[in-house]
Symmetry: C2
Subunit: 721 residues, 2 copies
């Protein structure tokens, strides 16, 4: 397989740049500003003013002279200035007119707080469609409608254009959220824990600004070290994936951590293929987010825990982790969590052990985890950290401190901070507890050392950072294009659809795959017993014979399949018997194209390849082992097509039972490269022909490495979904 | 299958009673008490005095007149009082003598804080053995050595006999921990979050008081609503299981929530069977804890989250959950978590929907989750909770509150509290955030309503309570005893071991299983070609023939297996050929017992049953599907023998691929009852014969329901581990 070159796909800065005035406007108009305390229109002005916004605010309200000292204007037309951003807090029916009026006066950016659009159904749907059309027509950026607003804590801007209760403190995290109410809870939680944000966007109904646009804007912001996301549904699967892949690669990769709720059930409805019936689950999103390089977490706690580790931008070189602790139990908890997260415990070099032996008391445990014993003070931690951090077999450190009687927590925190300063490796503090350790936690937070209360949380975050580091080093290969006969495929589809058939019979399906260069079992269509015998002789015995006709889908049920025919006489007899038998069962006037004569294949491992087109996400490729286990255990891997060249093998290795393809129990390993080649061809096929709604190659027979694979049976379903 | 009667196994109150003076002593002697601030001997006295201990304290220190106003005594002999509890904080070498002296004067209960025992190896091991022997001889209760101490917050006792930094507040949780340092961290965290404890034991090396004793003591304490446990290794598997089963059943079941760290690798070392090689993983502990009815959690956060839900002792009647929320996003998060935890969303009755429709604004979402919309105040929550809590399809409620601009969090909390008062169903609050919601959180905590910051945490805890409720309703069936020929089995073992054989050949293994009433494929041992033909005729054709001899383990490799013999002539020829062939390969003097003639079995589903004796835990039963998948995916279920009558089916349903036995894709369901019968017989076999080290029945062929199963091949390994 010739590899296509690595692609340089840095974030498209033009898109990001386009959104920049949204986050750093010099002039803001708040349409619907209000004097009434407790109202949303008042909260916005109050947050802007009290948050210390550095630009000019124009409250728009014809009935009031001033709000919080800011002189009101009667309408947007009355503003004698260029408005960079208009924030709308007015009843939904008036939004369209005001946006239009602002746009006429040159405003390009909008935050529509107002609810009453798509989310209420009915007239709201049309209202939102109109707004979206206006945005497209005039090239406007509209956050919302139905959102909490946006925040930028950068000292040059300090804009809190939301109706949240408070301005969050400045910090390294950018957050975008589809749920406004969740934002209020997140902000409140973050306030309590002391977590800060760079930028914050509640994007609501995303009428004219999508999560992809916002991701690019956060990626371009130098104050944002990690991007946090809450999303209920993704709009454009492939665009989302490519954007995230770009953000998480290149010279300055940024992690994206996401909570994705809601399950895709639409995909599963009325599925006509194995792939379709397996594609309706939440695992699809797991796969798509993994493909995008997004770290998926299941809860808000995990979201912040995972983000915390990126406070320190240093990425580890590998998974080898050293643990230093002053207590055995937490050391075991960390070790368990380490193994559970598929990390490895560093094995120390002899010089490290020697240094530890020399400096620690004899009852200490020197091998990883290093136990400096309960009475350790900061000097003993320093000795241990100096030795361990210098070990070439250590990629990162986790330092556990339990607040025992003798423990000088704050001094130990200071030693951790110093170690981080010189060792150049990621180091994470685990200061166990809440009250007695709080001064130490504060010190580490200020020093940019990620800190956790418990070893499992620390180790899970460390593992997430490792996976991210590995991901950033993974090359972004291109999409391989095979020379294929796409026109032939389109012609088959035209012909079949014209005849009113959306489920392709085997003969036609095999032709499609042949046009895309899949290895197909040799076959011929015979229209007489003599032709069948000739075809069999040419193909080589033994052969399989299958009836072929436009309406004959369940061939076996009508006696339309014969296996293991070993000579010409047998083939001739079989031909006549099959034709007679099928007509007997299905009626004398059944249209029969003939009999498919196929080489009887040697036994190989059976795998299944498939595609199901998700109405929202796009074409989902599936891979799994064949047979009853795959279905019972749902052990399959998904990717959204097109897939990059290195993703085919990753898909194969993504099933739990991949061991069975790699030479389990002394068997020869299977030809994974041949399967990968088929997956890439499949990716090209479904990307090039949107009329394919679902398909299965079931089974693809795979032989030992170097001996290839063969499409033995396939089905293709056409149609628009 | 006749069911054995349900067993009434309430906690053995005599054992619990025996430990009671440990938790409620009237007189405590602290041996090694000290005036030096920061020392452990000082911390104990200080904690007792400042914690408000209600009894008499005797500090024992010959060099000091008083500590914190308490007059010191020079030695335990000098105490003119009956000492209920002696706390020892003296160098390890002196512990034995002091315990002896106290015991001589009638003291029965001890807490040995001192380290320097088993955990340091060397002389410490002997020191601990001596202490243990003394305890057994004199009937003493000794917590520790090498521990933090014990706490009882009951107002009548108020004893803090630890060197932790603070006395925890009184509360509903009893905690026992093998790690003292972890305790300090747990106490500190609990202090910060406001979690209280009833009793608290750091049990250290558990020389003479085990986790089982302590569990019984906590179970008997009326102030303890839930038992929390941190344990690194379990000492007596079956005893632990039975104790936990008793505590979690009966009229007043108490939940036990555990963190279990450390993995059992010993079990896997040098395994000679499939079962043995699969039994070395952490999944074994998952199974054993599940068998015990213990809720296993993976982190300290989860431990407290899970415990919190039991603040309210009301158990739900089912899994049907109603969600009430003022925000869509968190409602979706809760729904996702609900499905992920295998709970169900309530479907409301028509009268509930009617009531909701009448009382809530038109934009509200009425079906579960009920969305009362962001501007809801407590009156709207009251309307929703009144309607939903009365619905007969609702087993429990989760109430989500996000702190939006209009939200009166504390008033809503009060409505939740009131609803709990009258509805009689479990209700859980999810007050999202940390700061703005804190007054509401405090109110709910005081009212005994479990409260969480995020929906996933709330739902996970609700699910844990449901699983616990189901567990408590599950009858504790007895251990079924089949009529078996145990003497025959012992005789076979004697004979084989005498001959120096620990791996039983198939013939002997089958005899063992026959003696225990397993369905065995009909077989006979023939010692001549004519006998073989006669045996075959009697058994019925077709037959299988297998060579049998004391040293012939790998029969196939020496040409010692013939399949599908259909007539007497064939059997005679095969006999002679096999004997000659085996002698040719293995030597002319190879001892051959003859040839095993077996009925050739019809094809059935293959399953594997096995046992591996864990040196610490006891005999571990295993069940899995046969074949390559089981091993590649490690899809097997474990239980510690003996198993109760209802556990056999639970084991079968415990594998991920159990669907394949239940009539997947139109197949006939397999005979699960027959497999269950074999598992119960296996349980009896391995419990009655401790000389069995490992065994596999592989495969057990299973036929359609009602048609039974058959042992087709088996191996048994003898030996002490």
């Amino acid at each position: 397989m010739t590899r296509t070159p690595v692609v340089d796909e840095r974030p498209q800065t033009e898109t990001a740049g386009k959104l920049e005035p949204l986050f750093a406007p010099h002039v803001i108009a708040v349409v619907g500003a209000s004097r009434t305390p407790g109202s949303v229109g008042n909260a916005i002005i109050s947050n802007l003013v009290l948050g210390g916004y550095t630009g000019v605010i124009y409250p728009v309200n014809p009935k009031t002279k001033s709000i919080l000292g800011n002189r009101c204007v009667t309408s947007v037309e009355a503003i004698d200035d260029h408005v960079d951003l208009a924030v709308l807090v007015i009843p939904a029916p008036h939004v369209q007119g005001v946006v239009q009026a602002c746009a006429d006066r040159g405003t390009k950016h909008f935050v529509v707080i107002s609810a009453g659009f798509k989310e209420i159904g009915g007239e709201g749907v049309q209202r939102e469609a109109n707004l979206k059309a206006l945005a497209q027509e005039r090239g406007l950026t509209i956050v919302g409608p139905n959102c909490l607003g946006i925040i930028n804590t950068a000292p040059t801007v300090r804009m809190n254009a939301t109706f949240a209760r408070d301005m969050p403190v400045a910090g390294p995290f950018g957050l975008i959220s589809q749920s406004g109410a969740l934002c209020t809870a997140l902000l409140d939680y973050a306030k309590g824990v002391g977590i800060g944000f760079s930028r914050f966007v509640s994007f609501g109904n995303k009428a004219a600004v999508t999560e992809t646009d916002l991701l690019l804007a956060l990626a371009a912001d130098p104050l944002t070290k990690a991007i946090l996301m809450y999303v209920e549904e993704l709009s454009h699967g492939q665009q989302f994936i490519e954007t995230c892949q770009r953000i998480t690669h290149g010279p300055n990769p940024k992690p994206i951590i996401a909570i994705k709720t809601g399950r895709t059930q639409e995909g599963a409805a009325a599925a006509a293929s194995h792939t379709g019936s397996l594609a309706g689950s939440d695992e699809v999103y797991d796969a798509v987010l993994a493909q995008a390089g997004v770290l998926r977490v299941e809860s808000v706690k995990d979201l912040f825990d995972c983000a915390e580790v990126f406070v320190d931008p240093a990425l580890p070189h590998g998974r080898r982790t050293a643990i230093v602790t002053n207590a055995g139990g937490p050391g075991i908890m960390a070790t368990d969590a380490c193994i559970r997260s598929e990390m490895t415990l560093s094995k120390f070099q002899e010089y490290t052990l020697k240094s530890l032996r020399y400096q620690l008391p004899p009852t200490s445990s020197l091998k990883n985890p290093v136990d400096v014993i309960g009475d350790a003070k900061h000097d003993r931690y320093r000795a241990a950290l100096d030795a361990v951090s210098a070990d070439e077999g250590v990629d990162q450190l986790v330092v556990i401190v339990t607040p025992q009687t003798m423990t000088d927590v704050t001094e130990i925190a200071d030693v951790i901070r110093e170690t981080k300063g010189f060792c150049g490796k990621p180091i994470v503090g685990c200061l166990m507890g809440l009250v007695d350790v709080s001064a130490g936690v504060q010190l580490l937070r200020k020093s940019g050392v990620p800190t956790y209360a418990f070893p499992e949380d620390a180790m899970r975050a460390v593992a997430a950072k490792c996976r991210f580091a590995e991901w950033t080093r993974r090359p972004l290969l291109g999409y391989r294009q095979f020379p294929v006969d796409a026109a032939r495929v389109e012609a088959i589809f035209d012909e079949e659809l014209k005849a009113g058939r959306t489920a392709l019979v085997e003969l036609k399906a095999l032709e499609v795959f042949r046009a895309y260069g899949f290895p197909i079992v040799p076959y011929a269509l015979a229209t007489s017993a003599i032709e069948a015998a000739q075809a069999a002789a040419q193909i080589g015995f033994p052969v399989v014979m299958k009836i072929s006709g436009p309406k004959i889908v369940h061939k076996t049920d009508v006696g339309g399949v014969r296996l293991n025919l070993t000579d010409e006489a047998g083939v001739r007899t079989a031909y006549d018997e099959m034709i007679a038998g099928v007509r007997g069962k299905m009626g004398a006037d059944t249209e029969i194209w003939g009999v498919l004569v196929q080489k009887m294949l040697p036994r190989g491992k059976e795998v299944i390849l498939g595609m199901s087109r998700d109405p929202r996400m796009g074409p989902l490729l599936m891979f799994g082992l064949g047979g009853i286990y795959t279905e019972a255990l749902k052990d399959v891997a998904f990717r959204l097509a097109p897939i990059r060249e290195n993703e085919a093998l990753e898909m194969i290795m993504g099933i739990r039972s991949h061991k069975l393809l790699r030479g389990f129990r002394g068997e020869a390993p299977s030809d994974l490269e041949a399967i990968g080649d088929c997956l890439l061809r499949l990716s090209q096929l479904v990307s090039s022909h949107p009329r394919i709604r679902e398909l299965d190659i079931n089974p693809l027979l795979v032989y030992a490495a170097g001996q290839g694979c063969m499409v033995a049976d396939a089905r293709v379903i056409l149609g628009d979904r």
